[in-house]
Amino acid sequence: MKASTEDLITARHLAFVGRVTASLSHEIKNTLAIIGESSGLMGDLLDYTAPPAEWAPYPRLKTLLTTIAEQVERSVVILKRLNRFAHSMDEQLVALDLNDLLMEITNLAQRFARLREVGLETRLCSESLKMRSDPFRIQQAVFHFIEVSLKFSPKNTTITVASRRDKGAAQVIITDEAPPRAGWLKKLISTPQLTLAETEEQSDPDLAVLGLIVAKLGWSIEAEDLHPQGNRVIVTFPLENG
C-alpha cells in the first residue's frame, strides 16, 4: 500500500511526538536514579552511623526511606510504559508481538478503568502472535475500544481484553458487561465519514477515526451483543511471521 503525502506527514508528526516524549522520559528516569541513589545513601549512612536502639527517629526515617524507594520503583515502572508507548510512534511498520502490545496498552488503560470503578483484565493466548504492523495504530484501536466499553460499563463490572490465533490471523476480543450496543458500533465503524460529521450524543470522533484506520490497514471488526447483557468486539489482524 502506497502512503499518501497526508499519511507521511502524520507519521512524521507522530515520530516527533514519540521522540521528544521518549527523550523526556529518559531525563526523568535519570532524575529518579539520583533520588533513588541519594535515599539509598541516606539509608546506608543511617545504618552505619546511628545506633538504631538509641536513636528515636531511626525507625521513622527508615520507613520514610522505604517509601521513597517504593515510589521511585513505581515511577520507574510508569516511565518504562511511557517510554515504550513513545517508541511505538517511531515507525509505522515493525515486527511486533501482538500480546506484548496488548499487555502494554491494557496497563496504560488501567488508570481510566480504576477511575470508573470498572475492572480491566487480560486473557492473552499463551502462544506469541508475531506480525508486522503499526504498533501505535493497534494500541490506539484497542485503547478506543476499551474507552467505549468504559463509557457504558456499570460500576463493578469487568472488561476483558483477550487474544487468540485464528487461522492466518490474530484476533483481539474485547468483552464488557455494558448494555448492548453492537448495532450502534457497527454503524459507527462502517460509516466513519458520516459519524465524523455528526454531532449527536452517541457519535464518537475517536471511534469514527478508528473506522478509517481499520479500513485503511485491512483489519476487520465484528461487534455482537451478549446475553443477558454485554458486548463483544472482535478485531482481526492479518498475521504473518514478524
Binding site: 528516569k29 533513588g36 541513589e37 545513601l41 516511565l79
Partner: protein
C-alpha cells in the same frame, strides 16, 4: 553488614549527583571508588588508577558509553565493564555486550544487584 572484598571501581556517568551518591554508597560497601563524568576522563583515569571494574553509563555527551567501552576494551581487555542504561530498550546493552561488556543494568540500579554483577565479573575474569 556491608563489608566485602575490596574491588577498585571506576564509576563513569555525566550526572554528577548520581555519581556522588552511588560512589559514596560503594565506598560504604568497602570498595575503592574513582569517578569520572566523561568518557575521555575515564580513559585518562584508567592510566593512573588500577581498576577491576568500570561501571559505565551508556548515554553521555561527547564520547558516549559505547565508544568509551570500545576504547577501554582495546587497551585494557582484562578490565570488566558493566553498562548502565536509562532506556527501556535493551538495544544499547546488547550492543555493549557485543563490544565486550560483562553485562548491563537499567537505571535506577539496585545496589545489591550491581554489587552482585561486579562480583560475578571479577570471578569471571579470574577464571580466564
Amino acid at each position: 553488614m556491608l563489608k566485602m572484598e575490596k574491588f577498585a571501581i571506576l564509576l563513569v556517568d555525566d550526572k554528577e549527583e548520581f555519581v556522588s551518591a552511588l560512589s559514596n554508597r560503594l565506598l560504604l560497601h568497602g570498595m575503592e571508588v574513582h569517578t569520572a563524568t566523561k568518557g575521555e576522563d575515564a580513559l585518562a583515569m584508567l592510566q593512573e588508577k588500577a581498576t577491576d571494574v568500570v561501571v559505565l553509563d551508556v548515554v553521555m555527551p561527547g564520547m558516549g558509553g559505547l565508544e568509551t567501552l570500545r576504547r577501554i576494551k582495546e587497551t585494557y581487555p582484562h578490565i570488566q565493564v558493566i553498562l548502565l542504561t536509562g532506556h527501556a530498550s535493551t538495544k544499547e546493552g546488547i550492543e555493549g555486550m557485543r563490544l565486550g561488556a560483562f553485562d548491563y543494568l537499567m537505571k535506577p540500579v539496585d545496589i545489591e544487584e550491581l554489587i552482585a554483577k561486579m562480583k560475578a565479573s571479577i570471578k569471571a575474569i579470574a577464571k580466564e
